[in-house]
């Protein structure tokens, strides 16, 4: 093995360990921005309060400015009229950012198929985790948060350049 290969290997080792470390830190410090529009809100309140307590997952402290948040929780039906606002909120969030579609309305429009309802927020912004249910049970939401945490832990986290 020549020395450049060795360097490359060492670099990759370092990158991986750095990603693990940053991922571990990031997955437990999610700051959600609740974009709450409809009945799913009730379940959102339930899952964030003491009974289910998303604080145990480091994902409870809501930020009501998109600039301070890194998890956009879209909770409820999004109409075509609201879509530009949602898109704007998403664009105002800093990287890294993740999006959760909370409930079937946000996921796919749910049972609304008409002039008003957007057929899933992924038509206008990328989504990381979908939570089915109308509304989803708190357990499903927690499952969704854990899946998102796994995803964060397993992704790369460039902090200095594209490569590192």
């Amino acid at each position: 093995m020549n020395s450049s290969d060795q360097n490359k290997g060492a670099f990759e080792y370092l990158t991986t360990r750095k990603d693990e470390l940053v991922g571990w830190a990031r997955k437990f410090s999610l700051f959600p921005y609740p974009f709450v529009t409809a009945c799913c809100a009730m379940e959102f309140m339930s899952v964030s309060s003491t009974m289910y307590d998303t604080d145990r997952f480091g994902a409870a402290l809501p930020r009501f400015s998109p600039r301070q948040a890194d998890l956009l929780m879209v909770v409820g039906t999004i109409t075509h009229k609201q879509a530009p606002v949602l898109r704007r909120v998403y664009e105002q969030m800093c990287e890294p950012k993740w999006v959760m579609a909370f409930g079937v309305c946000a996921t796919s429009g749910g049972f609304y198929r008409n002039y008003a309802a957007l057929q899933g927020i992924d038509k206008i912004i990328p989504v990381d985790v979908y939570i089915p249910g109308c509304p989803p049970r708190p357990e499903s939401v927690i499952d969704g948060i854990m899946q998102l945490q796994e995803k964060i832990a397993g992704s790369s986290h460039p902090i200095v350049s594209d490569r590192f």
Partner: protein, 157 residues
């Protein structure tokens, strides 16, 4: 007594050749559209129906005239409601506005205009209230395609 009041109202309307019947526990009055303003005025000034609850319309695509325009008024003194109904043809869906009598009518007429395309003569502000600028058509009309979408944000690929 509400029963009394409604009986008096019915007699009074019968004088003017308007038919009023009890339907679903409400006094329902059918009037031609020309008589709308006068009748609403009579109900408000003469019988104390001082609260404008709602205006909406019903689309009967195969009927002529095509639309029913339906008003609900409430008396805060006697706690009774009354329903006013008139018809307008699909080619000329216009009725007089009730804004001079009830300020609250302004918003509800806007909604009715949004959803069913009924125009209210004299209401100067029929901008979209629930829909958005640029929306074409009237979604609660029966001939609006159920699945037609008019998105404001371009979809991702």
């Amino acid at each position: 007594m509400p029963g009394d009041l409604l009986e008096r109202l019915r007699a009074r309307l019968a004088d003017e050749g308007r038919e009023a019947v009890f339907a679903h526990g409400l006094l329902a009055v059918q009037i031609p559209r020309e008589a709308l303003l006068d009748t609403a005025n009579l109900l408000k000034e003469g019988f104390g129906f001082d609260l404008f609850l709602d205006v909406t319309a019903v689309d009967w695509p195969d009927r002529d005239p095509r639309f029913d325009v339906v008003y609900h008024l409430y008396s805060t003194r006697d706690h009774v409601r009354v329903r006013l109904k008139t018809t307008v043809p699909g080619t000329d869906p216009v009725v007089d506005t009730l804004v001079p009598l009830f300020g609250a009518a302004a918003y509800m007429e806007r909604e009715c205009h949004d959803m069913l395309g009924i125009r209210f003569r004299g209401n100067e502000d029929l901008r979209p209230i629930l829909l958005y600028e640029g929306f074409e058509g009237h979604p609660l009309r029966k001939d609006y395609p159920k699945e037609r979408e008019q998105p404001l944000v371009r979809y991702r690929e």
